[in-house]
């Protein structure tokens, strides 16, 4: 019969020699490989104390961004929702009233903004679609939970800490990723 590939190997059926019959040599060979690993670099990371660095393209939990003055960037333009392949994003817009200029950057803002984390596939298309640099995917995971209802993330869960009142929290949430600065 002709072999389909040349990778087929004929099984050797020759009698084992005396040394081979003792199996000692093969055991030693195996031991050598096992104990050799003691002198190699450890790939293990001791998780809660030590954390692995994220890749620069890591896409984690969404964050709604604020500008330097702590105003929300989002104008509820709906481009993230229309770009979302999983249809996880919903929002309702409202008009900024006089006196709310310190809260919202533009005259229109997202009064409600929700991401259904059960649906989200962390593709990052919302970040790419956003014209206002208002949403981006941070370097954290979505925490696990027991109830499905806790995966509907509201605007308060998603908003980044205010850089004016909480600069450290703002910097932590931003992470080490290079973020586009809007003009």
């Amino acid at each position: 019969m002709q072999a389909l590939t040349n990778r087929a190997k004929q099984v050797e059926r020759a009698q084992m020699s005396f040394i081979e019959q003792l199996y000692l040599w093969n055991i030693l060979k195996g031991m050598f490989i096992t104990f050799g690993h003691m002198f190699k670099k450890q790939p293990t990371i001791r998780y809660p104390e030590q954390k692995r660095e994220f890749s620069p393209v890591f896409r984690g939990l969404q964050v709604l961004n604020r500008d330097e003055e702590g105003r929300e960037n989002c104008t509820a333009c709906g481009l993230c929702a229309v770009a979302c392949p999983a249809e996880a994003i919903t929002m309702e817009a409202a008009e900024r009233l006089p006196g709310e200029e310190k809260l919202y950057k533009e005259e229109k803002y997202a009064a409600k903004y929700e991401i259904n984390m059960l649906r989200c596939i962390f593709c990052g298309l919302c970040e790419e679609a956003c014209p206002k640099d208002a949403i981006y995917l941070s370097e954290t995971f979505t925490p696990a939970d027991y109830a499905r209802k806790n995966f509907i993330y509201k605007k308060n869960d998603l908003l980044i800490p205010n850089p004016v009142t909480d600069p450290k929290g703002f910097a932590d949430a931003r992470g080490s990723k290079v973020i586009r600065t809007s003009k």
Partner: protein, 359 residues
Amino acid sequence: MSEQQLFKVTIDNITIEVPAGTTILEAGRKIGGEVAPPAMCFYSKLKGSGGKCRTCLVEVSKGSEKDPRPMPKLVASCRTTVMDGMEVKNITSPKVIDARAGVVEFLLLNHPLDCPVCDQAGECHLQDLSYEHGKEGTRYEFQRRTFKKHDLGPYIQLHMTRCIMCFRCVYTANQVTDSRVHGILDRGDHAEIATYIEKSLDNDFIGNVIDVCPVGALTDKTFRFKNRVWFLKPMDAHRDCPKCSGKVTLWNRGNEVFRVTARKDEWGEVEDWICNECRFEKKQTTDWVIEGPREISRHSVISQGHYVHSVIPTETFAAVNDGRKPHLLLDIHDTSGVNKPDIDLSKINGPAHSNNFSS
């Protein structure tokens, strides 16, 4: 001469016979597709419109059969009538493409580009025009022009910064409504659409200025910031209206009527003018007889999520389980604050504010 004279005109190597007196732009529209020059100010249903925005510039490479010399400059196709044997180059002429990119750059000089905020986004002619004919960047380095805010009453929202001075709304007020109270004030860079003394636009049929506005300068205040057009479902509907034809497009989300507009043809022009009552007052599904979903070009963002010929499979779970309904793990309305079934955003008069959401 009882029989109307037909002129042979060739646009982009496509020959068509049109009656004398037809403009190049209308002849192009008869051929259709890419051959039709874009138009921002010309409106076939408004007499005297056109000749202002210069987006419809075309090259006439042969004047006519009798005088075959080409026209020395690019001509505005909405204002130039055809001659027998005329040869016109639209997208086949690099000169036209270049000139159009320049015109778009001019139109966008003072345009704020606040499309994420603007309600017109998704059905804006300037958006389409700059995508199709414009360049990527602008060379303008100065402050864009701003205006004092003008209040045009409870129905119409004016954003003067977005205006491109097409004069369509002025012609509409002149030709469709009984009296015109708004117009262009001042000249040059200071020219603006306004009523001289703050006055609201409330004469009947004035709502049509919203439909004719090619940009987001005049928008529906009752729809302001309520939703994005591409999340709404356009439905053809009609009602027995004593004042107008009553043929409209409803922009629904679920059973909520968010907006009523006139029906627009493929050139973005209204088919029938509709009255203010139909547009602003009748926001109940029960007011209308719904004819069916409106056909939207599949290249438009508005067609997103509209699966026209899809067949929805019937739910068999209850049938095979002795009528037992599937166990619902999560009703989204229990947790979600968006799209509450008992709160109708469309019922709010004007845009929603923070106090509408406080409860």
